[in-house]
Symmetry: C2
Subunit: 304 residues, 2 copies
C-alpha cells in the first residue's frame, strides 16, 4: 500500500491506496503555516499505520518551485515561492523522518502528468504535456515515456504569450506581469471580471471562456513548437469553464496557421481535457510512491 | 569511416570522417533544385568509395520541417517547406538507394546539438539546448542525454516572443509574422537594416546586436521555462554579431526577473556561444552515421 500527498498552495490532499480506483483512505487538509500543515499530514499517515495499514513508500507532488536535484542539500524543499512563509520549507524531510520509508518527491504537475498518462487522457502516449490552468499555470511533460527534468523542473506557466488584440490588462504575475500565468490563471480571470471564475455567469462566463481559450492556445502553441507533444491534456479549475476548450482549439489553429503542416495538430484529440480531474494529482503521487518503492528494492538488491 | 551530409537551405556540406578533428574529405555543394543537389551529394560519396574509402554508414542533418517517424511512408522527407521546389523531397532515400548502407536522418539542429554535446560547448551536460540564429531560428534539445522527439521534432523558432518596446516591425515569418524567427533571424535583421547582418558596421551593428540580443533573451526565457536546460548554446551566423550575446545575457536576467531563483540562470555559462561554429552540423551528421552503424550492428546480432 502506498501513501501520497498532493501538496497544493491551498490544500494538501493525503491518500492511501494504489490508484484512482483504489483509494483506501483520504484526507484534505487546509493549508495553514508550514509546520502545522506538515504535522497534520504526517499525523494522517501515522494514524493509518497505528491502525494496521502497512505503507511501503510515500510520494509527494508539491507546489513549487521545488528542489529536485537529489545531491542538493535542499532536495525536497520548496525554494522561492511568493506564498508567505513557505519559501525554504522542507516538504519531503518530515515524511521521511517520521515514517522511515522511501519517499519520492516531485512537482504537483509532474504527479498529475504521470496519472493522466497511466489512467487518464494520455494513456498509451510516450510524449505529452499535462497543463494545469487554475490558481497557477504549470506543466509536466513526458518525453519518450519519461518525465522531463533538466536544471530542476519546468516552469511553463511563465513563458511569454502574445497579447490578445485589445487586451490591456497588465497581468498578475509578481515576476513577469503579463506571462501566460499572469494573463490567464484563475486569479487573473478573477481580477479581470471582479469575481471568482467559477462564479461567472452568462455573458461574463462566455467572455472568460474566449479569453482563457485565447491564452491557452497561445501557450500551447509555444509548448507545441518547443516540445513537439503528441497531445496536450488540460486540467485545473479553468479547464471546466464551458466553451473554453473549444475556443482554445479554434484559436490554436489560427496561431499555428498550418505550420509545420501536421494534421494531428488540428485534430480534436490534440488538445483535450484531463480525465481524472482533481484526482490526477493525488493518484499521481501514488505512482511516485510506487517508483520510490521500486528504487529502494533495486538499491537493496544491488547492495546485497 | 562515416559519411555525413548537412543539408541546409543554401548549401549541402558533405563530409567523410569520424569527427570535427578527423575529416578526411569534405565538399560544399550550393543548393540548386532537389534532384541536382541530391545527385551531386550522392556522387561525392560514390567517388570516394570508387577511390577506396570504405563507408560504414551515412548521417543526414536536414533543414525542415522533416518527417522523422520511421513508420511513416514519408520518413526521410522534407515535408512542407516554404523553400520553392523542396516540399515533399525525399532526402534520405537517394543516399540509402545509391550507397546501400545504413542511413540515419534527423534535423540539422539536432545534428549540431549532438556535436556540441560531444565536442563543443555542452560537453558533459545531460540536458541542454542548441539554438541556431541565422537564416532561420531553430533548436535541438537534449533531455537526460537524449535528443528530444515527440510528434516529429521541435520547431522552436516559431514560438511567440514579446515585442521589444517601441519595435513596430511586422516580422518576416510567412506563417506567424512576428514569431521568434520572424523578428530576429538573419533575413529579419537584413530587412530591418537594409543590408545583410554580416555587412553591418558601427551604430547599425551595435543596434542590431541589441535588437537580436533582446529577442534571443526572449526566446531563451520561454525555452528555459519549458525545457529547464542546464545550458543554452547559440550558433548560427548572428551568434557572431559583436556584443549580441552580452546583450542577450543582460536582457535574460531582466526577463527571468529572478524566477525561479536559480543562480545558474544568471551565470555566464548559462547562455554561451557554440564552440564548433559552422562545423557543428557536419560533425553532428557523423554522430548520426555512427548511430546508424551501431543500430544496424545490433539488429544484425538480434536476428542472428
Amino acid at each position: 500500500m502506498f501513501g501520497g500527498i498532493e501538496a497544493g498552495g491551498t490544500k494538501f490532499v493525503c491518500v492511501i491506496g494504489t490508484g484512482p480506483d483504489d483509494i483506501a483512505q483520504t484526507q484534505r487538509i487546509d493549508v495553514a503555516g508550514p509546520s502545522e500543515t506538515l504535522k497534520a499530514s504526517v499525523d494522517f499517515f501515522l494514524r493509518a499505520r497505528a491502525a494496521g495499514v502497512r505503507l511501503d513508500a510515500i510520494g509527494i507532488g508539491s507546489f513549487g518551485p521545488v528542489e529536485l536535484r537529489r545531491l542538493n542539500p535542499r532536495y525536497g524543499f520548496i525554494t522561492t515561492t511568493p506564498k508567505p512563509g513557505w519559501s525554504g520549507t522542507d516538504i519531503a524531510g518530515p515524511f521521511a523522518a517520521a515514517l522511515g520509508i522511501p519517499v519520492e518527491f516531485d512537482t504537483d504537475v509532474n504527479a498529475a502528468a504521470l496519472a493522466e498518462g497511466r489512467w487518464g487522457a494520455a494513456r498509451g502516449l510516450a510524449s505529452f504535456v499535462y497543463l494545469t490552468v487554475g490558481t497557477g499555470i504549470g506543466a509536466g511533460a513526458l518525453v519518450d515515456g519519461r518525465l522531463l527534468y533538466g536544471l530542476g523542473h519546468p516552469e511553463t506557466g511563465h513563458i511569454a504569450v502574445p497579447r490578445r488584440p485589445g487586451d490591456t490588462y497588465e497581468g498578475i504575475c509578481p515576476f513577469h506581469g503579463d506571462c501566460f500565468e499572469g494573463m490567464a490563471s484563475g486569479p487573473a480571470v478573477g481580477a479581470r471580471f471582479g469575481r471568482r471564475p467559477e462564479l461567472l455567469e452568462g455573458a461574463d462566463q462566455a467572455a472568460a471562456a474566449e479569453l482563457v481559450g485565447f491564452y491557452l492556445a497561445a501557450g500551447v502553441r509555444s509548448i507545441t513548437y518547443t516540445l513537439a507533444p503528441e497531445r496536450v491534456v488540460v486540467g485545473g479549475g479553468l479547464s471546466a469553464l464551458p466553451g473554453m476548450l473549444d475556443a482554445a482549439r479554434a484559436e490554436l489553429r489560427v496561431q499555428l496557421n498550418g505550420y509545420p503542416g501536421l494534421t494531428e495538430h488540428a485534430a480534436p484529440g490534440f488538445l483535450v481535457r484531463a480525465e481524472l480531474g482533481g484526482n490526477a494529482g493525488p493518484a499521481g503521487t501514488l505512482i511516485l510512491a510506487e517508483q520510490a518503492a521500486a528504487s529502494a528494492t533495486a538499491a537493496a538488491r544491488a547492495t546485497g
